[in-house]
Symmetry: C2
Subunit: 184 residues, 2 copies
DNA sequence: ACACTTGTGTCCAATTCTTTGACACTTGTA
DNA sequence: TACAAGTGTCAAAGAATTGGACACAAGTGT
């Protein structure tokens, strides 16, 4: 039971019950809401490791707009908590938009229990990964340098550091040289 | 015409022609391939600003596996070039997997010309965004510190810096905690 | 062919950051 | 209560960053 608390938001009580049963063996605590209104408050109180959010709450509306709105709101306020969306109205455009809006994953109803567990676990694992500062830096440096076609002066400018510093950073980790795009 | 070269990969000549016409006004140069085999070579030669990749190439197979494979291969070798996938067999699971595998976007056939152009433009714009090193660093520091519930010793450890250094970094920029990105 | 611009590789000295180690002080907990 | 762990703070040694400078290589336009 190393996966902490999960917050499940769905307006259908039957779904909440089913999800609760499904996730009971994996999470220490399962908090449910039947409407997203109290989501932000509940998150502040419970500090969940992940959120499972339904996309449609208004009866007769299945555009997913409401879920999308809540996704954005929650993600803006808690960008480090992975949000998995779930919907009965599978729609490629909606899924793509959701992922680009920060959703960690997108699941369709009816769901496969094992898959749902795996998806939530993965999302939490991924969100928990932390990168040393050096690595983040050198990856970013390589990327920007690449985008500048190796122009160190401009890259240094864009990175907000001096040319010499960039020069030193680059020659400090020569591994990155191999990853430059081949050209000329 | 500031959007450079785009590489379009599709086994259907009619599609290639249609896409070419659609994108002609937006890109300086449109390179087409009717099979992904030569993708990596062509990318090295043309250095495209974006890639539009079909998902199905083997006749009778529409699982999208092949496109997914090429997406991974290209993305691994050229992580900075945005890849937009396009497929006639819209499938939420496939789309989600593609995005999680590094695709910049996912479009379904038949496509809307304006949307296709917008998607490619957006992908290129997004890929072109560069962040100063300081900002990247302080954002990451916040995030890790957050994940450690404010425990600076542990956060410093995970970040690979000393406790005092983290302490200084934190008190150097106390405003970032409120996510106030607007600043002039 | 000739200036002109832009970028590279290299060096230096001044400044700033980072690290190591230490100390008193608060807290949660066995 | 006493221990372990973390905080805020300081100082001094060591490392990194900076701005400036210089000669040199390309690429530009005239």
């Amino acid at each position: 039971m190393k996966y902490g608390t999960v917050l499940v938001i769905d307006d259908n009580p039957a779904i909440l019950t089913a999800v609760k049963i499904c996730l009971a063996g994996t999470f220490e605590r399962i908090v449910t809401l039947n409407s997203p209104e109290k989501a932000l408050v509940t998150i502040a109180q419970e500090n969940p490791a992940a959120i499972l959010l339904d996309m449609n709450f208004s009866l007769g509306v299945n555009s997913g707009q409401e879920g999308m709105m809540w996704l954005s709101a929650i993600h803006r306020k808690y960008p480090d908590i992975p949000i998995v969306l779930i919907t009965a109205y599978a729609d490629v455009k909606l899924a793509v938009r959701a992922l680009k809006n920060g959703a960690a994953d997108f699941v369709t109803k009816p769901w496969d229990n094992d898959e749902l567990i795996r998806v939530l676990k993965d999302a939490i694992d991924k969100a928990g990964e932390i990168v040393p500062l050096d690595q983040l830096e050198s990856e970013h440096v390589r990327k920007v340098l690449n985008k500048c076609d190796g122009n160190m002066k401009r890259a240094a400018d864009l990175l907000g550091i001096s040319r010499q510093t960039l020069y030193n950073k680059v020659k400090a980790s020569p591994l990155t040289a191999n990853q430059l795009t081949i050209n000329n």
